[in-house]
Amino acid sequence: MWIYEKKLQYPVKVSKCDPMMAKFLIEQYGGADGELAAALRYLNQRYTIPDKIIGLLTDIGTEEFAHLEMIATMVYKLTKDATAEEMKEAGLGAHYADHDKALFYHNAAGAPFTATYIQAKGDPITDLYEDIAAEEKARATYQWLINMSDDPDIIDSLSFLREREIVHSQRFREAVEILKEDQGRKKVF
């Protein structure tokens, strides 16, 4: 089971009211390489991977939910006190018409979240390569988001999240090495 903790992983700060940035950040909430997709991808792969990798998938998958909460926090703070008019001006008119201020699992272009974002091939190496690619894609997305922001506080949180993708990618690369080594030893787990 999972235990919720009433604490952000990182002290997210937002100092500028900027609903348009929220529109872009939602990419990492409900987009193909976003935090929800990441969490669901890793947790789902646990059932068909050698035991040695299950702990890593569990822990990275769980951390992704903490990142999802950070993104939600930024979106929440960026839009909380925006008026309908400000939402419209920020390009969030279509969102507002359907959801008011509610967050929704869709990407920056408004395409709803879909399970097709999450690959699950059942082949351990294939799935880990998928995960490495997913981490690099998320890292790239954070770079593009940083390029579009001029709020040092938003950039600060996005930089933290980008760095986490680097560490996750590193661990998945090590997981591949662990599986390669085990195969060489012809050991059965």
Binding site: E5, K6, P11, D59, A175
Partner: protein
């Protein structure tokens, strides 16, 4: 209504975020380095630090975790703001 959040709350919370972040990093590291004795020692030391800090925060500001991983005050104070996105 909840007590206004003091600077102390934010300071303690950030200390906890720091200690728990070390634990996250060591967790992922140990998942791929299960035999690094020094890292496991450091992990256990930080787990202890985290427990002490959590207790300190919870006595003053209410439970951090649910399902019995934290004690409750009276009345039930799980609902007391701030939630993480309100901090």
């Amino acid at each position: 209504m909840s007590k206004t959040l003091s600077e102390e709350f934010y300071r303690l919370m950030e200390q906890l975020q720091e200690v728990d972040f070390v634990l996250v990093e060591l967790t992922l590291y140990l998942d791929t380095h299960p035999e690094d004795y020094d890292a496991i020692k450091q992990f256990n030391e930080f787990a202890q630090k985290s427990m002490v800090l959590k207790q300190q925060i919870e006595t003053k500001y209410g439970p951090l975790q649910q399902y019995g991983n934290s004690y409750s005050g009276y009345p039930w104070n799980w609902d007391q703001p701030p939630w993480p996105w309100q901090m």
